[in-house]
Amino acid sequence: MKNKTKKKQFDLFKILYKYGTIMVIIAAILFFAIALDNFFNFNNITNIFRSVSIVALIALAITISLTIDGFDLSAATIAGFSSVIAAKFMVVWELGPVPAIIIPLVVGVLIGCINAFLIIKMNIPDMLTTLSMMFLLTGVSITFQQGSAIYNFMPLPNNGGIASGTMHEAFLYLGQGELFGIPVPVIIMLSVATLAHIFLNHTKYGRYLYMIGGNQEAAKLSGISINKYKLIAYMISGLIAAIGGLVLGARLGSGEVDAGGPYLMDAVAASFIGFSIFGIGKPNAFGTLLGALLMGILLNGLVMMNFPYYSQDIVKGFVLIVALSLTYYKQMR
């Protein structure tokens, strides 16, 4: 009588809840593999991975902020901003690749700090804070690079001639290089995802973030310093977003103001699809990675099938609805 709810029975819904998203991914792969001859070859698979690496990194940044029940909407813009800084350092100021890599990362962390400060001290809701930050950063990047994009041999303003610096080889390697036949962006993506996974699931700090996100009151009462870990979460989020920006800049070979923007919505989608993987029901790095992959597979497959690009969003929206239904339907019951 007491354990009525625990009756062991075949529960179709439970299985769907746990494995539904995985099944959607497998179904998508199977579908494309059968429908397209060259979908399932090494080159194309690397291609998919490479194309999702930036979305995945930005999505991981967002995921970290989601664990504390926050929301870093500025992640994509931080990425764009950091690519602009890197380009400016190398092309205009002719500094080497080392500061061009370090400084954007530092800036990413700093922006995370500012976000956290506004959220904690000013008590502005997370989403509004990071939304404002998004506008602010876009404006700052445009001002900082004086309008146009920054690229090799660009004409300098005020008749300053041609920019003499170039995007450094070592820097471009981050976005275009390969290691043992695997694209470097993919390696970066997988490393960051693995580190994030270990951090969230296997260190106590990761658990603190989940505790804060799950029940701030309980976390506070058991002695976790809420503000400290919120700050840490946004700093990490900023850092990962900046890494994404470096990869982005290196792939494009230039710094462009709006380069990060288009990734935002895909990244948000990927993080939320991640909730539903294995029925975990909360933000997690592994799920986010799979979520980003799903988006990438769909895009790649649809493009190869010559699906009109404007209709691709219909498929994306549909997949997102399915994944979110799986996550939230259970919570209702």
Binding site: M1, K4, Y208, M211, N215, A218
Partner: protein, 501 residues
């Protein structure tokens, strides 16, 4: 020995504690009792370091200590299980993590989570408490009583010297309460002191050696249980004698209001038949898990009705949503107040007038004056202890929150009221007041369904009673002609065993 001396705590508009003394010896079970809002939880929260500021001194073994945050309290061996269990649990983490939360937070472990140890240790704690809960379950999937046990497991793991249980038995079934007491006695024998808060005085007399009484934030006294009786402690708590626990007005019972036939649906509700007449209080007796709550919710349009229908004043209908049910003239006071009954971050006024807001509107615009007037009236009627009608619910004491959850329905025009364990966590004095209000409702010709697992309450209050077991009604009895034993017999499935033999 733990000693609190001249503790004073003031909230905006409320002096919650005024010069309170409190002393607990090592290895005793000590009750802390008082009416709703007397300051019990506040005193215990201070002891647990949940409030930074307080006036007064705290000593452990004659050493003065400060208690500015939860960590300090834990280092001094003080652990609390809060009245609202949900405030202390993280729903989307596993049972193991929740039990081992202190271990994870304390920083004694390395940076990396030792999952194997955490699971093993959590399992051990649960085994020691003789509990059958899977440590890999998410806490959000647990029942209320299981959540409670997880918190006790957490405290035991912590090897607390002083364990504070703030109304732990409110959501528990009889067996679960027994089990809890067993555990508490065992902990006591191991040398732990347990501070026990409860509004069920019979429980207090069952396991406590000493009783400290608070009234309106003031210390009344500490007494040995042996020298006290339930009546005497009630008098000390309320400052007056409670003449009649079940004030009952005789009302004429008239036509049938609500008829439920062959009613089945989600939550295991199975083939229920019942009716409620005008002027009648019908009890729904049953143990925790017997299906009372599920039935109440289903009647109120939460869940899927698979079979049967409801007739209200002869008109058949099947509520699909609570809005349907309200439309038809039903009202439900739900069981889990924090989740279902009230908006915690809204004012008392907003909560009280929410279900009946139409009445205080003119062409859809709210009329502040009317809302205020109605709220003040019902604050007074239900006896809600609050500095003003503008106070946030979150700042009320547990029992007073419950009174708001009940109070808002007394303003409604419903024909049939369904109460699901409405007096959980409410003090004896206020209980009597609530019974009186229910009496007034039936005097106006309304019908009442009153679900409760406290059988003395059912016997004292109701005219007729349906006993539930396993999602169905197994017996109908006349309240005056039955006993607690009989109710217990049927609600434990006695009738079914009888038939089988």
């Amino acid at each position: 020995m733990l000693k609190m001396k001249s503790i004073t705590k003031t909230f905006p508009g409320v002096k919650a504690l005024d010069n309170v003394d409190f002393e607990v010896e090592l290895g005793e079970i000590h009750a802390l009792i008082g009416a709703n809002g007397a300051g019990k939880s506040t005193l215990m929260k201070i002891l647990a370091g949940a409030y930074g500021g307080y006036e007064g001194d705290i000593f452990i073994d004659d050493n003065k200590i400060t208690m500015n945050n939860p960590i300090e309290a834990k280092h001094n061996g003080i652990v609390i299980v809060y009245q609202e269990v949900d405030t202390a649990l993280v729903p989307h983490l596993t049972v193991a993590e929740n039990i081992m939360m202190d271990y994870i937070v304390d920083g004694k472990n390395d940076v990396f989570m030792n999952w194997k140890y955490i699971r093993k240790q959590a399992k051990q704690e649960l085994d020691a408490l003789d509990l059958d809960i899977n440590v890999n379950c998410l806490v959000s999937d647990l029942t209320l009583s299981e959540k409670q046990m997880v918190l006790i497991g957490r405290a035991v793991f912590h090897k607390a010297k002083y364990l504070i249980l703030d109304e732990p038995t409110a959501p528990l079934s009889i067996e679960e309460t027994e089990k809890l007491f067993e555990i508490v006695r065992k902990l006591k024998n191991d040398g732990m002191s347990v501070i026990f808060i409860s509004h069920r005085l019979d429980e207090v007399f069952k396991i406590c050696e000493k009783i400290t009484v608070l009234k309106d934030g003031k210390y009344v006294g500490t007494f040995a249980t042996k020298e006290m009786t339930i009546d005497k402690s009630v008098e000390k708590m309320l400052g007056r004698k409670l003449e009649n626990s079940y004030p009952k007005i005789k009302v004429d019972i008239n036509e049938t209001l609500l008829e439920v036939k062959d009613f089945s649906g989600t939550g295991g509700v199975n083939n229920v038949n019942l009716n409620v007449r005008s002027g009648e209080i019908v009890g729904l007796a049953g143990l925790v898990g017997g299906g009372k709550t599920e039935l109440c919710k289903l009647l109120f349009g939460e869940g899927n009705i698979l079979q049967g229908e409801i007739k209200l004043k002869g008109k058949g209908f099947k509520p699909k949503t609570p809005a349907d049910a309200v439309q038809m003239g039903l009202a439900l006071v739900p069981e889990e107040r924090r989740k279902e009954g009230i908006l915690v971050n809204e004012s008392v006024e907003t909560n009280l007038t929410l279900p009946t807001l139409d009445k205080y509107c003119k062409r859809s615009f709210m009329q502040k004056g009317k809302i205020k007037k109605a709220s003040v009236e019902s604050i007074d009627k239900v006896g809600i202890k609050t500095p003003s009608e503008k106070q946030l619910i979150a700042n009320l004491s547990g029992g007073n929150q419950q009174k708001v959850a009940i109070g808002k329905w007394f303003l409604s025009d419903a024909e049939v009221f369904i109460f699901d364990e409405p007096t959980k966590g409410v003090d004896v004095g206020s209980k009597a007041e609530i019974y009186e209000l229910i009496g007034e409702l039936v005097a106006q010709g309304k019908g009442i369904i009153y679900a409760s697992c406290e059988f003395n309450e059912i016997l004292g209050l109701t005219d007729r009673v349906y006993v539930m077991y396993n999602g169905t009604v197994v017996k109908e009895l006349i309240s005056e002609e039955t006993t607690e034993e009989e109710l217990l017999y049927y609600s434990a499935g006695g009738a079914l065993n009888e038939k089988q033999n």
